[in-house]
């Protein structure tokens, strides 16, 4: 797990505290019961805060898994490099 994944995992752990560290990388809105629309919005807010970025969210549903959010962050990091 690289630094970015670790920080994102910490965000997930704060918003979805019932997930174990092993479950977090596979977490998605469909696999985690407590992951509802409020959790998505909270996750986005926490990620924005942690990575000091502003996420343009036309459709929050696209941020519905750990891997998708990680990809989004990696893309953003590439653009700024």
């Amino acid at each position: 797990m690289d630094e970015m994944e670790k920080r994102l995992a910490a965000c997930f752990s704060a918003v979805l505290p019932e997930l174990t560290s092993e479950e977090i990388p596979q977490a998605s809105a469909t696999s985690v019961k407590s992951w509802d629309s409020v959790a998505t919005i909270t996750l986005i807010a926490v990620v924005e805060e942690e990575f000091e970025i502003s996420i343009d969210v036309e459709d929050p549903a696209q941020f519905d898994s750990f891997q998708q959010i990680l990809s989004y962050l990696r893309e953003g990091a590439k653009k700024t490099d």
């Binding site: 910490a10 965000c11 704060a14 918003v15 505290p17 409020v38 919005i41 909270t42 807010a45 926490v46 924005e48 805060e49 942690e50 969210v57 929050p60």
Partner: protein, 578 residues
């Protein structure tokens, strides 16, 4: 606080046991992250309670106010933004803007403000209510350019100020200070337009965090500090008295030392509000007395008692002051410009709050004044506040003389013409009673603290009683200094709370209170919900005397035993101290 931190706090206290503190949040916005911040802040403030935040429906501010008015929560929070007062003042509506709608918006805002006032008036009969006036900027609705204040906007704000002015007079209402939120959260960094459109949550996270922090602070009345001990040289005034003499010290614009006058004025104000002010200085006492006679001093020398000027360690001076005041170290602030002196006092009195006076840093002194206001701030000034310092000064003078003369308790009380009055009225609710129960440590039956709502509900029970004792003697009144509360159960009286201010020790008020309770209720036994705490040894010693042995939880005393023991204990004995 960051949102992640708030979530972590809530995660950490999930398993917290104990009583629930319920807070009803009445707002028309979607409180979303504000809820999280608020729950976290309240969890930190009420460390032994489980926090539950109830809320109404998104967009239904009027309905949520009605829900608040009939709610049984321990505390209510009314959080309103302009859009709650008229949706046309927000961005989620399609309604037209034009100068022709200004007067209608103004009428709507006034009518809605009246509804809010009525709901708050009803709710605050049962619980404390916290009110936050709009914190978000008005949208650009007015035709004038943004740098010009329009008549319309000024009238809108005037309507709200008038409403707030009326609501602020209700005893259980606290209004968030707009100046404080302006200081901690810049106006242009509050409104999250995207989030408002997407979810109805209008705040940027730092603003939501700042707002939640202040709202949480307002949900409880923290016990204010009682006394301030100040250094003199380069603190109360600029200069070293022993080096430059009485005329060489300064606190004025000419000597660039005006902020010392500002500090003196603040101490003078605190003194007039009931805060005890003392001096601990390494100086010659005679020189200090001369300096304090200077007519241009911005604080009256009479406001300062006691005056500890010597060359000994300041920790010892502080110890003597604490003894004279008879207050706990945790209710005292020590201000000095020397980090060394602060450290020396802190080492001996870890509970004293030690604050550095930032000499030659004017902005620092200004910020110090704000901090001191927060530490000593109270919602109302009671009669007891205005007489506290004088009664300590008189007690000190009055009690010292009999000590030398080895006077007995009984003689002494006769000599000082002690008078006690016992008031059993529960209505109107006396705020001093709860204040005493919540801040007294030494003579306290069990150390239990009550929220305003819990205390209010306790006294609403027709079986409960409340006794408030006032005391006066020839040295002046001490005001209301003791409280007992409990319930009658058959021929037994159960006391749940019993406190006596430390200012009123050695006056046999505790004996007279028990005597009065036996007489008033005609019971044969008084049962005490006693619990030993770290600091209630004076109460413990009294109970040991009256019971003839160490007290235990739930201990009781019969009428017969009490009268027998009280009589014996009234026999002459040497008075130890005041």
């Amino acid at each position: 606080m960051k949102l992640t931190e708030a979530l972590e706090i809530l995660k950490g206290i999930k398993s917290r046991k104990g009583e629930v503190f319920t807070c009803f949040l009445a707002t028309g916005t979607n409180p979303l992250h504000l809820n999280t911040f608020l729950a976290a802040e309240l969890s930190l403030l009420f460390a032994h309670l489980r926090i539950e935040i109830q809320q109404g429906l998104f967009g239904d501010f009027a309905g949520n106010l009605r829900r608040l008015a009939s709610n049984e929560a321990h505390c209510g929070i009314v959080l309103m933004e302009w859009t709650d007062l008229d949706p046309r003042l927000g961005i989620r509506t399609m309604a037209a803007w034009s100068p022709s709608v200004y007067s209608d918006i103004l009428s709507t805002v006034r009518a809605r403000a009246l509804e809010v006032q009525q709901a708050i008036e009803k709710a605050c009969q049962r619980m404390p209510v916290v009110l936050s006036m709009p914190t978000l900027p008005l949208p650009p609705i007015s035709f004038v350019p943004g740098w010009q204040a329009s008549t319309f906007e000024i009238e809108l704000k005037a309507a709200l100020h008038s409403f707030a002015s009326q609501v602020s007079q209700y005893a259980q209402v606290r209004i968030l200070n707009p100046q404080r939120i302006d200081m901690v959260s810049p106006l242009q960094e509050r409104f999250d337009v995207e989030s408002e459109l997407l979810t109805g949550f209008p705040y940027k996270l730092p603003h939501a965090s700042a707002l939640a922090n202040l709202l949480a602070c307002l949900t409880r009345r923290p016990a204010p500090k009682k006394g301030l001990i100040t250094d003199l040289d380069d603190t109360l005034w600029r200069g070293i008295l022993g080096e430059v003499g009485v005329d060489g010290i300064s606190w004025d614009l000419d000597h660039y030392s005006q902020m010392h006058a500002f500090y003196q004025r603040l101490l003078g104000a605190l003194s007039s509000e009931g805060v005890l002010i003392a001096v601990a200085s390494k100086n010659e006492l005679s020189l200090v007395e001369q300096a304090l006679l200077r007519k241009d001093l911005a604080i009256s020398a009479n406001s300062i008692f006691p005056m500890e000027a010597s060359w000994g360690p300041k920790s010892e001076a502080v110890a003597r002051i604490l003894k004279t005041w008879n207050v706990g170290a945790d209710s005292v602030v020590f201000v000095d410009d020397s980090p060394l002196e602060l450290a020396e006092v802190k080492a001996s009195h870890p509970d004293v709050e030690c604050i550095k006076f930032p000499t030659k840093d004017s902005l620092g002194v200004y910020h110090l004044a704000i901090r001191l206001r927060d530490l000593f701030g109270k919602s109302a000034i009671l009669q007891e506040d205005t007489i506290r310092a004088e009664s300590i000064r008189r007690s000190h003078a009055g009690l010292a003389a009999p000590e030398r003369a080895k006077t007995t308790h009984a003689n002494f009380l006769e000599q000082v013409e002690a008078e006690m009055s016992f008031n059993f009225s529960k209505s109107p609710l006396d705020p001093r009673a709860l204040e005493l129960v919540n801040k007294t440590n030494q003579f306290n039956l069990n150390g239990k603290r009550y929220t305003e709502a819990a205390w209010h509900n306790y006294l609403l029970d027709p079986e409960s009683f409340l006794l408030v004792v006032s005391y006066t003697d020839k040295y002046g009144p001490l005001g209301k200094i003791a409280v007992a509360a409990g319930r009658r159960e058959g021929m037994k009286l159960k006391i749940d709370a019993w406190v006596l201010s430390c200012r009123a020790f050695s006056r046999r008020i505790e004996y007279r209170s028990l005597e009065e309770l036996f007489a008033k209720f005609g019971v044969e036994e008084i049962e005490l919900d006693y619990l030993a705490t770290e600091r209630n040894s004076p109460l413990r010693e009294f109970l040991a005397e009256i019971l003839g042995g160490a007290p235990a939880p739930g201990c009781g005393i019969s009428r017969q035993a009490f009268h027998a023991r009280a009589k014996t204990l009234q026999e002459p004995k040497e008075m130890i101290n005041g």
